[in-house]
Amino acid sequence: MKKNVRVEGLLREMVPRVLGALVRRHGRFDECEDAVQEALVAAAIQWPDQGVPENPWGWLITVASRRLTDRARSEVARRRREKAAPLPEEVSLASGPDEEPAQKEDDMLTLLFMCCHPALSAASQVALTLRAVGGLRTAEIARAFLVPEATMAQRISRAKQSIKTSGIPFRMPPEEERADQLRAVLHVLYLIFNEGYTATSGPDLERAELTGEAIRLARTLHRSLPEDGEVTGLLALMLLTDARRPARTRPDGALVPLTEQDRNLWDRKSIREGAELVADALSRAPIGSYQLQAAIAAVHDEAARAEDTDWPQILTLYGILERISDNPMVTLNRAVALAMVRGPRTGLDLLETLDGRLTGHHRLDAVRAHLLELDGDHTAARSGYQTAARRTTSLPERRYLEAQAASLAEPWRGPDASVEDHRGARRERRKT
């Protein structure tokens, strides 16, 4: 079957609205969710052939309601067969009037809070959000996460089961829980984005589409909560990070570090939008970690060349981020900024404080090796890169780190060879 891009897009937009309306009317989130998925399948088959109905929302509601009715009827029949249960009242699930426009976005928001409820595991939150809010099918989610469809289906049904048994209602969380739950929602969107962003080319293309999905969801969330600085910050961070995607890998999937990326390949439109969003958020909302990360990404993205990067500003931003987030990875990044501003030794000294908190993490070894290299200690840098290469569980990272180590191998010193020549040759090699 040919995938109709326009229909697919429309359907995904519709999903949270249709599901929201159904759940509000009938309750029973788990059953409604199944019914909506079935309606989606029907639409994906019929619409490209017969045209999109005049009122697609109403069409989906009607079809999904019919599925709910069928299901309820067969359930009743089953129970009657088992024991002569009295017939329940007529199941009335006719479609209602056209949706109330103001309700659409609220439903989307309520659904997001529900799918990212703390009672669910992170893997379940991600899977259910992509299905119930993103409108993706289980098989698509499974392919993106490189697991069998049965495994993904299990995660989704477990999530729905948890919602049912925990009695999580379909309504906005109470005011006092809202901030915490919104943080959980943002984290789930961030996880979805990262899953796609770290994917490289080739067999991972479907996985890479998750970034687009995360951005779309963050945009919708931002439309519902335009005043929230962290929602804006997360959307900005995604745009500013994704803007670099065309430059971050070579066609063969090899990673290109930020300083060596071809900045002409960066997506200027996304950078502009992301930078404007974060500037706006920082000027009026209470500061938060997504805004700060976005601000850092903006500083990188706005430098015409790597050597033009405003490192003092990045250092300041990491300093603030470190104070509010207490995450050793932030300290690790601050060490890089510190090294760029005050020299590699200062950065290396800061790394000392991370031993214990990040011991055994390949990123600590990789950053240390990088700073040692900047400091001119190639022997130690080389062994650091090798350790990092052994510790990472990512193939492209291992490849990159092994290449770094190899490039620091004792150069053959011919009569005219200088260290500078060696470094130049290395840069050339990396380009090929």
Binding site: S124, Q154, I156, R158, T198, L255, H370
Partner: protein
């Protein structure tokens, strides 16, 4: 994060599984498998035939040499594997510790390499 949990056997595990109390051990494995299936952590699993059926293949100078028995000569051998996708290395270790072979022989927890990566 995906891990392969390598299940190791030795003469003691054979005795335990096929002797008295073997049914209980099988029950433990079934319960754990059910739990991993329902949680959406189980990606796949297979049991391997006895090393009696193993062939080791080596090619040297283009010439294949096939020998009977496993590559590594040891009292222990690989009896099967599980692939799980779970939230932390601690969880992978916890699953391995609950697999009965951990008590009689050993389980090996090995992260699976990811095709994805972040720039350094």
């Amino acid at each position: 994060m995906k891990y392969v949990l390598l299940i190791y056997d030795n003469p003691e595990t054979r005795e335990a599984f096929f002797g008295e109390g073997g049914d209980e051990l099988m029950g433990e494995m079934d319960a754990l498998m059910k739990e991993l299936t329902e949680s959406g952590e189980l990606v796949g699993t297979e049991a391997l035939a006895d090393p009696y059926n193993t062939k080791t293949v080596r090619v040297r100078d283009g010439v294949p040499a096939i020998t009977d028995g496993p590559f590594a000569e040891a009292k222990e051998h690989l009896g099967g594997y599980l692939v799980v996708d779970c939230e932390s290395p601690e969880r992978a270790i916890e699953i391995a510790a609950r697999w009965p072979n951990a008590r009689f022989c050993a389980m090996e927890v090995r992260p699976i390499m990811d095709e994805a990566g972040t720039e350094m």
